[in-house]
Symmetry: C2
């Protein structure tokens, strides 16, 4: 049993994830500044399709920690923006395979550079070993709550 005590403001910011909110906002601003008409949430879906195109919506749910309705609507919006296309699976008529368009492929490199740039700004002055430890703790937290 853990008896670690958070101070007042810390508990709040640990629960609300102040830091990651700031990171996402910064990245979104970069997207906007570069005229990319793309939300962070939409980018997070593309992110997984760039790794492997043609994932099903259910696979995107698992990859992005979102529920099915959320993915349905994100794919709706991505399709409306001409970034992906739903392709019904041959084997299983229930499944939609989500495929990237040419336009989405063009966004890959640029947005990844902006994401890396954002993280560099975020982690400026933090030693690599502390980043590693922090990642470990956050992964452990995630595992504790989901496994």
């Amino acid at each position: 049993m853990l008896d670690y005590q958070f101070k007042k403001g810390e508990l709040y910011s640990f629960i609300t994830g102040k830091a990651s909110i700031a990171i996402a906002r910064r990245l979104q601003k970069k997207f906007n500044a570069h005229g990319l008409n793309l939300t962070i949430e939409q980018w997070s879906v593309l992110y997984h399709l760039w790794k492997e195109d043609g994932k099903s919506q259910q696979e995107l749910c698992n990859a992005t920690f979102r529920d099915k309705p959320s993915i349905t609507r994100l794919v709706d919006n991505l399709e409306r923006s001409g970034l992906v296309k739903r392709v019904p699976s041959e084997n299983d008529k229930r499944i939609n395979k989500i495929h990237l368009t040419e336009h989405a492929l063009l966004l890959h490199e640029q947005t990844m550079l902006l994401a890396e740039e954002t993280l560099k700004e975020a982690l400026e002055g933090v030693p690599a070993e502390q980043i590693d430890l922090c990642k470990e703790v956050l992964q452990k937290v995630y595992d504790n709550l989901t496994l």
Copy 2:
């Protein structure tokens, strides 16, 4: 200049704040399970009012890292639920002082216990010094992006 390299999935989860999303979801489930008709976002506003009642909406913006429209609507919903009351300031007619109701005072202890319980579950098996370091890193990230 930092040349730390994230691995594929790590970059994504660092930006999206996987861990804090999981914490907030767990806490929300606890609220629901206890029949508390309260969102985490609403709780986060009450949290700052429990520390100091009668804050203005602008002060709540600063405390919760939200913009003015977000606070307007959160206060709308809290008022509709009978948890807070807007009281126009005497000195400055532009300002609304937000005051807790009796009902909101009753929620304080219970919800804080649930929040602490959630963090205990989240941080199970993580040594205290690692938690401290992780907090420091996240604070540094926040400062890097907002100062």
